[in-house]
């Protein structure tokens, strides 16, 4: 198999390298040259977007092919980094990874565009934004536990700055809380990762331990994780560290409280990335690391997840109903939707996992759209609470229409990718024996509709309010581009879900098979 | 040797060590409770001396001179320390007008 390389680096490495280089480029641009900063960011993210599309196309082309004919395995790249510690720069992607890289590139592309109007410390803003997304890309392509964790943590601090500096509403509290929460989750996961790392090495007894995911999986197959640890089954003992560590960012009830607050305080692009991508890191990590490494632990703990996700779905929805701030509504709605993702994972079926990954994608795009829209009018109105708003569709019809589209996508109306994925999760949950959870998931569409329609009505409908006469709509194609772009992505994958589900399918099959062999499913 | 001394049990290394420990303890108690910095300093020197005594005693036990050499070094160090200490105490006196340990308790928390 001939590896695919551009200038010595695999496209997957470039996916991380280009944002990193963009960050450097911005770093060496004078602060005063705001437009140059913006253009560098846009250029870098456009390029990344192109590569991400290319990767997704390759992944789609791989479906159903023999292992030898596939392109995706040829994108893997492994470079020894720190021999003594067993760290290597190891990137690889399967369908799931390709989908997530694609999602990230979409969201950041739109995020760069909607941030065009940031005037305060523009350079620092884009620096944080692109640094954040570098970490996110790193998580999605890493096949080395160290780089995985490195990237995971890397994504946290820029978020702190983005919220702390350019945020609004209670930003100091929110940013600090978010950062500490995510870091707590990350270090909790680190403890789990290190336990797994140690067990693998203590069992395989190689000269050096290794953080390579394939090494861990090899150890798993050899039975390294079947031992006892402090009187408990190792897998059962170690899995919750990964589960709750990653679950904190997922965010799993009751670890979710950082997220709505963080959404509410963050500037548009940061909210977009935060809800669109950052939250997906958790569930992605569970699927990429926790479940493959410790399948029996997963089987043991998944019933717990299945209970918690019901809280996510219903409780999140109910709390969203009680909110007045638009961003809090979308924030709690995100935590509700992430319940579906967790439910899909907990179903331990191929269908459910596929749906969960697809939903991660769909929700990412949808929620990015939501925050872009809220940010668009909030920048002008400086209020976001429903009683203060109303009737804005008269003045900003384009934004109003786009908001209706977003709400419908979020409410799980067919035609948008969210519907297809949520239905897959619901069917998958039932198939996996989680009947009550499936019913709760279906029931969840009711509160979802309630708060979204209330938000639409509260902000955009109703009599014309002269207070908003000065609002500017998105009129130029450039202003409209991010919104139209995100909506079309949602519609495209909503109308033809197989563009993505087929790509994800094999990853999901593999995970479900693994769990089934471990005694679940 | 007077009969009185002969009547006592022979002085062993344990006795030296006991004395050394006693001296160390005395020094420690001084550091703990005396407020005059000069006296605190002297108590610190006493603790170093206690250690020196132990060195000499052990040197005797082991029959090598390493311990005694060590004592020379430590005495030299102690002298240097005393010099530095006194100068700092003078500075303190100039700054605060006293040499009470509690005079230097501005920074806390």
């Amino acid at each position: 198999m001939e590896p695919v390389r551009f200038l010595g680096l695999s496209p997957l490495s470039w996916v991380v390298a280009i944002p990193a280089l963009t960050t450097l480029g911005i770093l060496f641009t004078p602060s005063a040259a705001k437009n140059a900063v913006r253009r560098i960011a846009l250029a870098g993210m456009t390029l990344t977007f192109g590569i991400a599309i290319w990767i997704l196309v390759q992944a789609a082309g791989d479906v159903g092919l023999d292992a030898s004919a596939r392109v995706l395995p040829r994108l893997a790249q492994k470079v020894e980094w720190v021999r003594e510690l067993g760290i290597s720069w190891n990137v690889g992607a399967d369908g799931m990874g390709a989908a997530m890289v694609f999602l990230t590139s979409i969201v950041i592309f739109a995020g760069v565009l909607v941030s065009w109007s940031v005037e305060d410390r523009t350079k620092e803003f884009y620096l944080s934004l692109i640094a954040l997304v570098t970490g996110v890309f790193g998580v999605f392509v890493s096949r080395d536990l160290f780089w995985f964790y490195f990237s995971y943590e890397l994504a946290v601090i820029p978020m702190y700055l983005l919220i702390g500096i350019w945020g609004s509403t209670n930003k100091e509290y929110a940013s600090m809380k978010l950062t500490l929460y995510l870091t707590t989750g990350a270090v909790c996961a680190l403890v789990g990762l290190l336990m797994v790392y140690f067990r693998a090495w203590a069992f395989l007894k190689t000269p050096y331990p290794s953080f390579d995911l394939d090494y861990i999986l090899m150890a798993r197959d050899a039975g390294a994780f079947d031992a006892t640890w402090r009187g408990m089954d190792f897998q059962v003992f170690a899995f919750p560290f990964l589960l709750f560590g990653f679950g904190a960012i997922a965010p799993m009830w009751p670890l979710h409280t950082w997220s709505p607050m963080g959404h509410a305080a963050a500037p548009s692009a940061a909210s977009m990335l935060h809800a669109g991508v950052l939250m997906k890191l958790g569930s992605f990590a569970i699927l990429r690391i926790a479940v493959p490494a410790l399948p029996e632990g997963a089987v043991w703990w998944m019933p717990v997840v299945a209970v918690l996700c019901m809280f996510n779905i219903l409780y999140g929805g109910l709390v969203a109903i009680a909110q007045k701030d638009m961003k809090f509504i979308v924030g709690y709605s995100s935590s509700s939707h992430m319940g579906y993702v967790l439910l899909g994972i907990a179903s331990m079926t191929s269908l459910g996992i596929n749906g969960a990954i697809f939903l991660m994608f769909a929700h990412g795009v949808m929620t990015a759209l939501a925050f872009a829209l809220i940010g668009f009018f909030y920048d002008q109105t400086h209020v976001r609470t429903i009683p203060d708003l109303g009737g804005m569709s008269h003045q900003i019809p384009f934004i109003g229409t786009a908001f209706v589209f977003m709400s419908m996508a979020s409410a799980g109306v067919p035609g948008f990718a969210n519907f297809a994925s949520e239905v897959m999760v619901m069917f998958g949950a039932w198939q996996g024996g989680l009947k009550w959870q499936a019913v709760v998931a279906v029931l969840g569409i009711v509160p979802t509709g309630v708060y979204l329609l209330r938000a639409v009505k509260g902000a955009f409908f109703g009599p014309r309010n002269p207070r908003w006469d000065g609002l500017r709509d998105a009129v130029t194609p450039f202003q409209r581009l991010p919104f139209l772009f995100l909506i079309s992505v949602l519609l495209l994958f909503g109308f033809w879900p197989r563009l993505l589900t087929d790509v994800i399918g094999e990853s999901a099959d593999e995970l479900a098979g693994l769990l089934a062999r471990a005694g679940g499913g | 040797m007077t009969p009185l001394l002969a009547a006592l049990p022979p002085v062993t290394v344990q006795h030296y060590l006991l004395l050394s420990g006693l001296l160390f303890a005395v020094g420690l108690v001084g550091v703990l409770f005396r407020r005059n910095i000069i006296i605190v300093l002297m108590c610190l020197e006493l603790m170093l001396s206690a250690a020196n005594l132990a060195f000499v005693a052990f040197s005797r036990v082991h029959g090598n001179l390493q311990g005694q050499v060590m004592v020379f070094f430590s005495i030299a160090v102690a002298a240097a320390e005393a010099a530095v200490a006194l100068s700092i105490i003078i500075a303190l006196y100039r700054a605060r007008g006293g040499v009470d340990v509690e005079d230097a308790a501005e920074m806390k928390g």
Partner: protein
């Protein structure tokens, strides 16, 4: 007739979607073009439907009368969801209703919406609705039905709340969407339940558990018993029965049956063509159509059919009583629609799919006609209150006469469309397989009530003196022509089903579509005595209505006083709206507020902030150790050292290993 005709079926589906897309892009510029595109999208659908229908009816003996064309929409693991079109007589008849009623209404809208700010948007949404509705009609499987089910809900939401500046319109749209969602909850649960219980059976292997055709074949082969045996009872019901009832929930929502009917009257906030097309003719009939499509689920389970029939009957009666006291012309029609939908559902429950479909078809034409007439009236009077109308028969002759035709059909004047379809339902209640005397009584009484409120409405609107403002004029031709266009089928379409005339026509005989919907057993009979009784009830109601409001022989106000509690009960719609409002405002909001309180105070302030406060407090406490005094420092260091030394020495002495 085979899948080679699939492009025509796809064209029926996607022509309106393409129109919606194009119209959506033309929202601002070229408004006229947007309308033209929408109308032609619909016309394309109508033509394709007619062509396919002709092919189906013309199919020779032994030749299939329909076809199915599917593509895989989602594939994941062992799960495949398909997307396709089915063109059989059932779906084509329904498509004919949708496109046939839809096309004139689209044309009508050109005039009705003229000058509205959201002209282009209106046509985009209307086309979207047509797409969604045709999607339900042409759907080949349960999930696809659900997809378009929700899309219909979406377009309904958009169109009811079309005038988004009006709070009441937006609220009504919201209400419609949410009430439908409640029904959809049951629907989807039922689909999932059915899907996996069927898929888990070995005898089901190789089939798709969502597919109508596969499921129907399975049920025909005794699937019901097999399912009931294989899985334990849920909620006291056999699993397939529960699934059937849950699927029926969807129909309850969409077809506005009790207790989810509350959205439909409010939906009249939308523009009148919308009311005509969706909330009278097509969307609300989707539930009935869907039950017909999956009739095989209900067939083996008489209790389910019984429940369906009773829900229908209850709705029919209750809505008719409420219609008696409405003063808004569209509300009268809305409750009348509810009542007729109740009839249809009752028909399905009593007599099977054909009777329901028959009434659906006739009702679509005459109710759309009535709505358009009312629209024309509203257009002229700028008011919807019948108390502000009167004497319009002279000012608006076309509207008046078409209205009379529609009314005649609705009250089932012998010979009109409604007469035949209603008679079939009453016949089923009286003589059918599941005959039920109480339901027959309900049907007859409702027929009387229908005549009463329709004549009341007619009298108040078109007779007497004009009580409103300004001088109403007849509407332009673009609006009156569709009225006449619809008046013809409103009069005549019933004859298609008249047993004595078309008896033996394959249309209503044998198996009816790919899922094998059976026409009820035995040859159609025309029950003259029953028809006379039915007509008598209607005549009684009509005469009474005319006496009170037309001829004014009976003092309406006095009777109102006398029956005040009853009047209040009816005008407040049996207080159901208040109940739901209480449910939403108090119960749901209460739970939401409680959750929020828990979130804000227990989780955030309690656990999270509490934890951080504890950490900070311990930091402050530790800080106190640092007193600044050298003595404390020395003591601290010494105490610590003693502790460390003692611990190590003691543990060494005890453990003896270090």
């Amino acid at each position: 007739m085979g899948p080679e005709l699939a492009p025509f079926a796809w064209a029926i589906l996607f022509a309106p979607l393409a129109a919606a897309g194009v119209a959506g892009l033309l929202v601002r510029r070229r408004r006229g073009l947007a309308a033209a595109v929408a109308v032609s999208g619909m016309a394309v659908g109508l033509l394709c439907t007619l062509y396919l229908l002709a092919r189906s009816l013309g199919a020779g003996e032994g030749e299939p009368t329909g076809f199915v064309h599917n593509v895989d929409w989602i594939r994941a693991g062992a799960f495949t969801a398909r997307f396709g079109v089915v063109a059989d007589r059932l779906s084509l008849l329904m498509a004919l209703v949708v496109t046939g009623v839809g096309t004139p209404i689209f044309v009508y809208s050109i005039g009705y919406m003229h000058g509205d700010e959201g002209y282009g948007r209106f046509f985009a949404c209307l086309s979207l609705f047509a797409f969604s509705m045709l999607g339900i009609v042409l759907s080949t499987n349960l999930l696809q039905t659900f997809v378009f089910w929700e899309l219909v809900g979406l377009s309904s939401y958009l169109l009811i709340g079309f005038w988004f500046g009006k709070d009441s319109a937006v609220e009504a749209g919201k209400k419609a969407f949410m009430v439908n969602r409640v029904g959809d909850f049951g629907f989807l649960t039922g689909i999932i339940l059915l899907c996996w219980s069927a898929a888990s059976l070995p005898s089901f292997a190789g089939r798709n558990p969502l597919d109508f055709a596969d499921l129907a074949a399975f049920y025909r082969a005794g699937g019901y018993e097999e399912l009931a045996k294989a899985s334990p009872h849920l909620l006291g019901l056999p699993v397939p029965a529960l699934a059937a009832l849950l699927v029926f929930c969807g129909a309850v929502g969409k077809s506005a049956q009790f207790p989810l009917h509350v959205w439909l009257p409010d939906a009249m906030e939308g523009p009148t063509p919308v009311s005509a097309l969706m909330h009278a003719a097509t969307m609300v009939a989707a539930g009935v159509y869907m039950i017909c499509r999956v009739f095989f689920l209900f067939e083996p389970f008489p209790e389910a059919l019984h429940a369906v029939a009773w829900i229908g009957g209850l709705t029919a009666f209750m809505a008719a009583t409420i219609a008696l006291v409405q003063t808004d012309i569209k509300k009268v029609l809305a409750y009348s629609t509810l009542s007729q939908l109740g009839y249809m559902v009752m028909a399905v429950g009593l007599a099977g799919a054909t009777a329901g479909m028959f009434h659906l078809t006739t009702h679509a034409f005459f109710k759309a006609l009535l709505f358009l007439c009312s629209g024309s009236v509203i257009h002229a009077c700028h008011s919807q209150e019948i108390t502000e109308m009167g004497g319009l028969r002279k000012a608006m002759p076309s509207t008046f006469w078409t209205w009379i035709i529609g009314t005649a059909a609705l009250v089932a004047v012998p010979g009109t469309a409604g007469f035949f379809s209603k008679d079939e339902i009453l016949a089923a209640a009286a003589h059918g397989e599941h005959a039920s005397l109480p339901l027959l009584v309900v049907g007859l009484v409702t027929a009387g009530l229908t005549a009463f409120y329709m004549l009341r409405c007619t009298a108040l609107t078109f007779f007497g003196e004009y009580r409103g403002h300004g001088h109403p004029h007849e509407s332009p031709a673009v609006m009156t022509l569709p009225l006449w266009f619809l008046a013809v089928p409103a009069l005549l379409v019933g004859w298609l089903g008249f047993p004595l005339l078309f008896h033996g026509h394959p249309w209503f005989q044998g198996e009816f579509g790919i899922t094998g919907v059976k026409v009820h057993e035995g040859p159609h009979e025309f029950h003259l005595p029953l028809a006379l009784v039915g007509t008598a009830f209607a005549a009684a109601g009509g005469i009474l209505g005319w006496m009170v409001f037309g001829a004014r022989r009976i003092d309406a106000a006095a009777w109102k006083e006398r029956l005040l509690p009853l009047h209040t009960l009816l005008s407040r719609k049996y207080f159901l709206d208040e109940f739901y409002l209480w449910l939403v405002r108090t119960v749901q909001q209460g739970i939401a507020e409680c959750s929020d309180f828990f979130e804000q105070n227990v989780l955030i302030r309690g656990v999270v902030d509490g934890l951080s406060a504890a950490v900070k407090a311990s930091g402050r406490a530790l800080r106190e150790l640092q007193t600044g005094s050298i003595h404390t420092y020395v003591r601290f260091a010494l105490a610590g050292s003693v502790l460390v030394v003692a611990w190590v020495i003691l543990s060494a002495a005890r453990g003896g290993n270090g």
